[in-house]
């Protein structure tokens, strides 16, 4: 199982859970497994064309998946994935 850290803005979709576990062999599969467990989460993660939304980064352990193989990045059992929104703020 891969551990996935869920950011605050997405926790309403996971019943408040900040960490969930999924069975997946790639980031793309992980997104689909999350969607089966928590319907509606996929559209919060990906845009209409299936790309990761522009305000989210997905890290495999400490590495941004964009610098690995993107959504095709393979996952191992001991991996930890963190979904992290980019910095924001306001006045």
């Amino acid at each position: 199982m891969t551990k996935v850290r869920i950011p605050t803005p997405l926790r309403p979709k996971t019943g408040g859970k900040s960490e969930v576990e999924v069975q997946a062999s790639s980031i793309a599969e992980m997104i689909d497994s999350l969607e089966s467990a928590y319907p509606g989460i996929k559209e919060r993660l990906c845009d209409e064309s299936g790309e990761i939304r522009r305000f989210l980064n997905i890290y495999l352990n400490e590495e941004d998946i964009r610098f690995l193989e993107g959504k095709e990045t393979p996952l191992k059992d001991s991996d930890e994935v963190s979904i992290i929104p980019a910095i924001a703020g306001g006045k």
């Binding site: 939304r53 305000f55 980064n57 980019a86 924001a88």
Partner: protein, 168 residues
């Protein structure tokens, strides 16, 4: 204390003025509390759809919803995650470290808002997983258009603490 080369401070002010009335944002890298690299980042807030605003909460969300997408960037910012990822990667490649995130307040003082504090604390909860050092939060106020005010803060335990900045 945070030391910033005057040239980088001028670049940040120029970035803030260029985007005014929208807020600008960016990242500073360096070593030992001294900034050496400036990464302006796109504020993508004006490009976000209504359902993507779930990122913000409470009063900020209702404020944002009352505005047109264009106007939303006047009161808030959202960094482009791809550019942020690239900047953090470049900082690592250069063997320097993250020093600060910055953004502008185009018509209010250089003090962190409640939204700034909430989101900084949220980032703080992810930061260790990414093996990043604690960043300062820099605000450039254009309240007085002729003399922009740059101030740096530590945001910890839901409170902000001003840190002295030195321009060199």
């Amino acid at each position: 204390m945070l030391t910033i080369p005057t040239s980088i401070a001028e670049e940040m002010i120029a970035h803030a003025r260029k985007l005014d009335p929208h807020e600008c944002c960016g990242i500073l890298g360096g070593k030992d509390h001294t900034v050496s690299q400036h990464y302006p980042i796109t504020n993508i807030l004006a490009n976000l759809s209504e359902d993507e605003l779930g990122r913000f909460d409470g009063p900020k969300l209702s404020d944002l919803k009352q505005l047109s997408p264009e106007e939303r960037a006047d009161i808030a910012f959202q960094m482009d995650s791809q550019e942020m990822g690239k900047a953090l990667r470049d900082i690592r490649d250069k063997s320097i470290s993250l020093q600060a995130f910055y953004h502008s307040h185009t018509f209010s003082p250089a003090r962190p808002s409640q939204t700034d504090i909430t989101i900084a604390m949220e980032f703080e909860s992810y930061r260790e997983k990414l093996n990043l050092p604690e960043p300062l939060h820099l605000i450039i106020s254009l309240l007085d258009k002729s003399s922009p005010d740059i101030r740096a803060y530590r945001i910890v335990n839901h409170e902000s603490l001003e840190i002295r900045t030195i321009l060199t």
